[in-house]
């Protein structure tokens, strides 16, 4: 079931195509009926040959799958993007200030805006980081902010991803694919380019190198080929022209980090790490981690290497902290938030708890620490048994859950088995913070391919679309 009151990205009503989709609609009228189908098959073939795949957890055997790619672009008018960009910039700036604050003077906790316990007892809060000064006071150098458009046409932030957000390689590959498949469409639109993202990323990483490094060596740290996002790690390293390393390729000596090369050890200054905090350094975090580098935290605290993102950013994108982001913006920047949060019930609060338990079939319930669409209940789509099972889980650990109204995500025409039909979408723009805050216009549009589904995660059967921000 598609929610009746969703916002249709392409059409204002049955008969009226929104202006920014008109050139597409005109183009579409003149292409043969099976053209899109052919193009989609072509894309599948190319993605396979290029090996643009991701590994699926729980399927075993290092299985690789394609993320379904949809051939119909998601188009965002210039003026809408301008608002989004300003809002994203503001939000990421405030989140970084928040992280700097809670690992130093904790003004925001002293001011009573956020309960201290919610921050200091959070499993994502890293006491190891207290008092550690990071270059430029930037913690989340690469942020992926999940945006949705609700029935009222407004954009809302659904989630901040400040640890190791992924998906940017698909943003870039989708654009490349669209230009290859439909060059004539690009003649009809002035689409803002995104291809310079790797350059921008490298520049951003270099800008936060330890002080005094004139020509810093940057590497990308991956958990390895079996990680679901390995393609992206390898892609970004290649596009930036830097080494892709695994933990075993690095070593720490006298608090400096080196990589093992054919010409002997070589200093490393900036690590764009795609390994979670817990696995980074077996001497400090999980001792059983084979993915990390013993001694890395010590080198980091000594200021001899920069980790991007910093350790301990997870506390700021935790779903229990999310409801406070608008207050953070007010507190640190003295500005009104440009982008709104989705209203959120915190189940550790009595009143919220009671409301949620009484209205479970209408709500979306999420685990505070969950991500990737795992451990989530979509009330309207759940069976009675699922609802009851979830109810018990919530009752046992209310503080582990938040709830939100079931939002009618906006929908965009999508090429599916039955032809062209609206499917729900979201948007993840990637925001870079370093010397300044920058982003390329656009992001990754994810689409829930199953009719009526609101879950866009690729691990849950979601697909992606190319995202076009128009230049004017």
């Amino acid at each position: 079931m598609i929610a009746a009151d969703y916002y249709n990205e392409m059409s204002a009503s049955e008969a009226v195509v929104r202006p920014h989709y008109q050139p597409y609609a005109e183009w579409f009228q003149n292409v043969p009926a099976d053209w899109l189908g052919q193009k989609r098959n072509e894309a599948d073939l190319l993605f396979h040959r290029l090996g643009i795949t991701f590994a699926v957890y729980g399927e075993g055997g290092g299985k690789e799958r394609l993320i379904p790619f949809d051939v119909i672009p998601r188009i965002i008018p210039h003026r809408e993007w301008s608002i989004l960009a300003a809002g994203l910039r503001q939000r990421v700036q405030a989140l970084n200030l928040f992280l700097q604050d809670i690992y130093h003077d904790q003004h925001i906790l002293k001011a009573g805006l956020i309960p201290s316990a919610a921050v200091l007892n959070n499993t994502q809060y890293r006491p190891e980081m207290i008092g550690v000064d990071v270059p430029g006071q930037i913690y989340s150098h690469i942020a992926g902010i999940d945006i949705i458009r609700a029935g009222d046409g407004e954009f809302y932030v659904l989630e901040d991803n400040l640890r190791v957000p992924s998906g940017v390689s698909y943003m870039l590959e989708n654009r490349r694919m669209m230009m290859r498949l439909f060059p004539d469409l690009f003649a009809r639109y002035k689409v803002a380019p995104v291809e310079h993202y790797p350059d921008m990323l490298l520049d951003n990483l270099r800008s936060v190198a330890p002080a005094g490094m004139l020509d810093p060596t940057v590497v990308v740290l991956t958990p390895g080929v079996f990680n679901s996002a390995y393609f992206e790690h390898s892609f970004l390293a290649q596009q930036m022209g830097v080494e892709l390393v695994e933990g075993r390729d690095l070593l720490v000596k006298d608090d400096f980090v080196y990589m093992r090369t054919t010409q002997g050890p070589r200093r490393v200054d900036v690590i764009y790490r795609r390994v979670d905090d817990d696995f980074l350094d077996p001497e400090v975090f999980r001792p059983d981690s084979m993915l990390g580098v013993p001694g890395l935290l010590a080198a980091y605290k000594a200021g001899h290497v920069t980790l991007c993102n910093a350790i301990g950013t997870g506390v700021a994108d935790d779903k229990s902290i999310y409801p406070y982001v608008p207050q953070m913006i007010q507190f640190y920047l003295s500005e009104a938030p440009i982008l709104h949060n989705v209203s959120t019930f915190m189940l550790r609060q009595r009143a919220d708890y009671e409301y949620v338990m009484a209205h479970l079939p209408e709500l979306v319930v999420k685990e505070v620490h969950g991500s990737g669409g795992y451990g989530m209940l979509v009330g309207p789509a759940a069976s009675q048994a699922e609802l009851e099972a979830f109810r018990l889980r919530i009752a046992a650990n209310p503080e582990h859950y938040i709830a939100q109204p079931t939002l009618a995500l906006s929908a965009c025409p999508t090429f599916v088995e039955a032809g062209i039909a609206p499917r729900h979408i979201d948007l993840r723009p990637f925001v870079l913070a370093g010397r300044e805050i920058k982003m390329v216009p656009g992001g990754l549009t994810r689409v829930a391919l199953r009719e009526g589904s609101l879950v866009v995660n690729s691990s849950q059967g979601g697909g992606t679309k190319d995202t076009w921000v128009l230049e004017h």
Binding site: H48, R49, L50, G51, V225, S234, F235, A237, Q238, E243, L244, V245, E246, R248, D249, L251, K253, Y258, M259, R260, T261, T262, Q263, G264, P265
Partner: protein, 314 residues
Amino acid sequence: MLSRTADHLYWMARYTERAENLARMLDVHNRMTLLTRESSLVGQDWEGILTINQLERDFQQRYSHITREHVIHFMAFDAENPSSIHSCLRLARENAHAVRGTLTSELWETMNATWLKMRDMPLESMERDLGAFFEWVKFRSHLSRGVSVGTMLQDEAFHFVRLGTFLERSDNTARLLDVKYRLLLGAHTAEEASPDYYQWGGLLRSLSAFEIYRKVYRDLITPRRVAELLLLRVDMPRSLLYCAQEVLANLEQIANRHSAETLRRAGELFASLRYSRIDTVFERGFHEFLDRFLVSINDIGTRISEDFLLPVAA
């Protein structure tokens, strides 16, 4: 570059080359079998294929007896035999996958596409037309070599790829020659043996050397000249001398502070081939010569791993 990256590149090239040489060997052997009228020893020596690759024991564990079909299946298509063509192409692709960012996109696509095709081709159709399958393997190897030469920056990464290629090729060529000469000459010397045109021609063809032989010698095929061509011609791209020369040249390009002795040994091997005469080789024993060569080339391989590829301490 990272030691691990160099290691993956080196093995990617070795497995690709190994798959090609396996295809060449199986192809020529299969043809020779078809040529032999009576079921003579020569035609039916499928055991030799297992011996060259030191796989007799693995084979016996899985198959009841040695037949043409069994050996071909085991050496070409058996996913559980880590040395089959199937496995070599998989391992080549896995190594490429681990360093795909270091490869040009054309090279990665080639490695990936080769493996996907290998994986998805129906067994019956490959077995029905073995010649076409072996030809396909050879051409995929030509393609990946051509793509690496034609698209890669000629930096360290490239030299590790080339090292892998030529170490593997020299090893495979030496083993093939050793077995074939033992078989074709039997107790005879190179002078006495009756030149069996088809058998020696087949050996030449398996190393893409048949037309080259004609061009170089313009004369009858004799075992001694075949040996000279495949051991000592510096302009024959599959000869031992040519491979040794390439190993030396690529090693020189990647030298580090540990590698002087390895370089010296590679130089010594090259010089010993460069200034050998084929008569002396036969006088002193053809088999012994190849044996010494294989020992040297394996020693250089091991030393390369130690000097460059194993993680070094700070």
